[in-house]
Amino acid sequence: MIKLENISFDHCIKCTVCTIYCPVARVTHLYPGPKQSGPDTERLRIKNPELLDISLKYCSNCKRCEIACPSDVKIADIIQTAKWRYSKKEFRIRDFLLSRTDLMGTFGTLFAPVVNFFTHLGIVKYFLDLVFKIPKGRTFPNYASMTFKKWFKETRKYQNKYLEKVVYFHGCYVNYNYPQLGKDVVKVLNALGKGVIITKEKCCGVPLIANGYIKKAQEHGRHNIKVLSKALPDEKTKIVSASSSCSLALKHEYANLLELDNSPIAHNIAYITQYVLEEFENGNIPKLKPLTYTVAYHSPCHLERMGNVAFTIELLRKIPGLTVKILHSECCGISGTYGFKNEYYAISQAVGNELFKIIEEANPDFVVTDCETCKWQIEMNTKYRVVHPISLLAEAIE
């Protein structure tokens, strides 16, 4: 049965505009592009799931096609759904591990020095390549020795001083790999006079969706909707996230892809730069010291899809002394766990080349972007350090 709300494929006017903007179709002829893999073949798959053309697996779910489409076809959603609905699922230990960010994170942080040491060893990389089909050229993000959650325990009591509160969905990356970003978020929110609440959240589900673990993703989604809505002291309180992909999941993927009812939280979710900018515009601006850097700003695909890039750019422009070069919008290629798989590694690198080139041309002091996986990809492929806009703002706050 086709649900009436799922017939966006039928709005396709066959203009092929989406295919122009698909970064994967740009670099490989193996992928026929969003038009063909999405609305065109959806009709066939509905008739007969056997007609699935598995080349759609090359889609990295960057969603650039949806931004371009003049007819509002939910192309990437159609493709992701088809991936798990129609393709035969084979169990792969690698996909299982890559998608279990909480499990890997708990383990990784527990043995951080050892794990970090090993994942950077050539021989281990060789082994990962051979056995797990994880490309040996890929560098891994380091694990932190203390999780963000653990750090937050110390600061929780100070958060109660603040009358107004914000719920912060920190995500796995902040918790296990990069607690500093979480600390920066807390610093910025506190500087705005807001206390921070964190919940017993689970991974937002993005890596699970990407690897086809839909049931598990739905489980996580339901859990997060429950704990986040419970944590809201009132209707007006915001739930912020500093990860573009987590925000996209909470706000859009839960409803559009996982078919969950996220209405108890949907109106409260705000990507962090949007929240902070609005506070600034309402006059709530902490004292900022000038930062005399020249930075290149890269807009992550999922932030683009949420229509949130402008908020980050405007916020960066509020930092005194900062020179911001806006890079032409290009996909970095990593697309979450996509760039961690042998079969897509070359594509992922080829997609990113365009971006790496323009970063080199811009020649900034460092790169600024909102997404953790973009950060890994850019740091691995260029000589530049990558900083989150909120960390930069935290630096400017006295």
Binding site: A68, G307, I326, S329
Partner: protein, 431 residues
């Protein structure tokens, strides 16, 4: 977020207005829900191609006739001096991004369509029309129209047959040819799956462009002039055109293909990067769904992705295009403008909207429907009050027919320029 000027719709009109505002120092944002009509257009800029069903050669003379007869026409509201200034501005801004437009010294020229018909237009990219084409045209003995084997969106035989019928080509032999795609690594797909964009990317590759040039030279077989579908690159088109012409020693001419239009895409890229270069903020993939108006002044607009966060500006421009782009919506027996519910010009009876014949020489009446404005391009709300800080530009405007008059992009550029001019002077007064 707060801006000086918010432009709704990022087609040729919204982008032109955005560039003008940003260049004058206004903090400007463009919000655009999907890619615009540029992706479907020929990439040539029509100013005034036809008047009373005859081809116009001198557009600025014909403009006097047009503006003298149709008081409501957007061109009449702009006036000739402003139109000329606007077109020059557009040309120069494109040049900053290495898109060079040829204007045949204020005369119209013809460009060849994919079906082999000739269309009068004003500006074309240099790979479509330039002085060499103009000078050599009269001496031309043989034209070869080439396609790539398997590419299904262009039919050289059809184009050749149609073109041969034209009086201008009476003394010229026109031949259709096909060449094979050079062997491409990892090419697991058949060329018939390729669209213009795939082939344009192959042209971008240094490795193939020389091979393609050699294949073109072979197929040309003594012709003076070679016509190929517009594949000569998305970014490095000037260089690719030069390489192919110098290696083949032939004049190589591009015709626009079925969508996606590479020629249109080049202009879209140029305008967007120019706008960004001037500090403009382009929000792609979001749709303005609602506006807040108080005392005939727009206070804020709201988008689909951020229904509760106001986007505020001192001035607004509505350039959301016609029905095709969603600037206007038609229902069974009604039409409306979805964002501001502006006053529209249209016939209430549905059977008056269109002509029974699809290719009717007077074109379809619905193309003339659109937003009604005052002489400053400010629209009226449903209660017939002028909205003070809102201007309209481009295909959303009423009282002109882009097909019958061959004036789509010209109107889009001129009205954008006029709207932006007024905003810029008011903004300067306010400071």
């Amino acid at each position: 977020m707060k801006f000086d000027c918010i432009i709704i719709g990022g087609g040729i009109s919204g982008l032109t207005a955005g560039i003008r505002c940003a260049k004058e120092g206004l903090h400007t944002a463009i919000i655009s829900s999907g890619m615009s009509a540029l992706h479907f257009s020929s990439g040539s800029i029509d100013v005034l191609g036809y008047l009373d069903n005859t081809v116009v050669y001198k557009p600025f003379e014909a403009l006097d006739t047009l503006t003298g007869t149709i008081a409501q026409h957007p061109y009449t509201k702009c006036g000739k001096p402003l139109i000329i200034e606007a077109l020059q501005f557009f040309k120069q801004e494109c040049e900053t991004q290495n898109v060079y437009l040829f204007d045949n010294e204020n005369l119209n020229h013809f460009h060849v369509t994919a079906l082999g018909t000739l269309k009068p237009t004003y500006f074309s990219q240099r790979s479509v029309f330039n002085e060499d084409v103009y000078n050599r045209f009269k001496r031309m003995k043989k034209i070869v129209i080439i396609n790539f084997e398997g590419y299904r969106d262009f039919h050289p035989q059809l184009a050749a047959a149609q073109l041969s019928k034209h009086a201008l080509f009476a003394n010229c032999e026109i031949v259709a040819k096909s060449i094979e795609m050079p062997q491409i690594q990892n090419l697991s797909r058949h060329p018939h799956e390729f669209r213009s964009i795939d082939i344009a990317r192959i042209f971008e590759d240094e490795e193939y462009v020389y091979k393609i040039a050699d294949a073109i030279r072979l197929a040309a077989d003594g012709a003076d002039f070679v016509v190929i579908p517009a594949f000569m690159g998305i970014h490095n088109f000037n260089q690719i055109h030069n390489i192919i012409q110098s290696r083949t020693r032939l004049l190589v001419y591009e015709v626009p293909t079925l969508p996606p239009s590479i020629l249109g895409l080049r202009i879209d890229n140029a305008l967007k990067s120019r706008f960004a270069q001037l500090g403009g903020v382009f929000v792609a993939g979001d749709k303005v769904v609602r506006a807040e108006i108080k005392d005939d002044v727009v206070q804020a607009v709201y988008t689909a992705n951020h229904p509760e966060n106001p986007l505020e500006a001192k001035f607004y421009i509505l350039s959301t295009g016609s029905f095709f782009s969603g600037g206007m919506v038609s229902e069974f027996d009604n039409m409306y403008e979805p964002v501001f519910k502006l006053k529209l010009h249209f016939e209430p009876q549905r059977n008056k909207w269109y002509s029974p014949q699809f290719f009717y020489s007077h074109s379809h009446p619905f193309l003339e429907y659109g937003v009604v404005t005052d002489e400053n391009l400010r629209p009226y709300d449903s209660k017939n009050n002028i909205i003070q800080n809102l201007y309209c530009s481009g295909a959303i405007l009423a009282h002109y027919n882009p097909i019958r008059e061959g004036c789509g992009s010209g109107v889009a550029i001129s009205t954008a320029y006029k709207a932006a001019n007024q905003i810029v002077s008011l903004y300067k007064l306010m400071r």
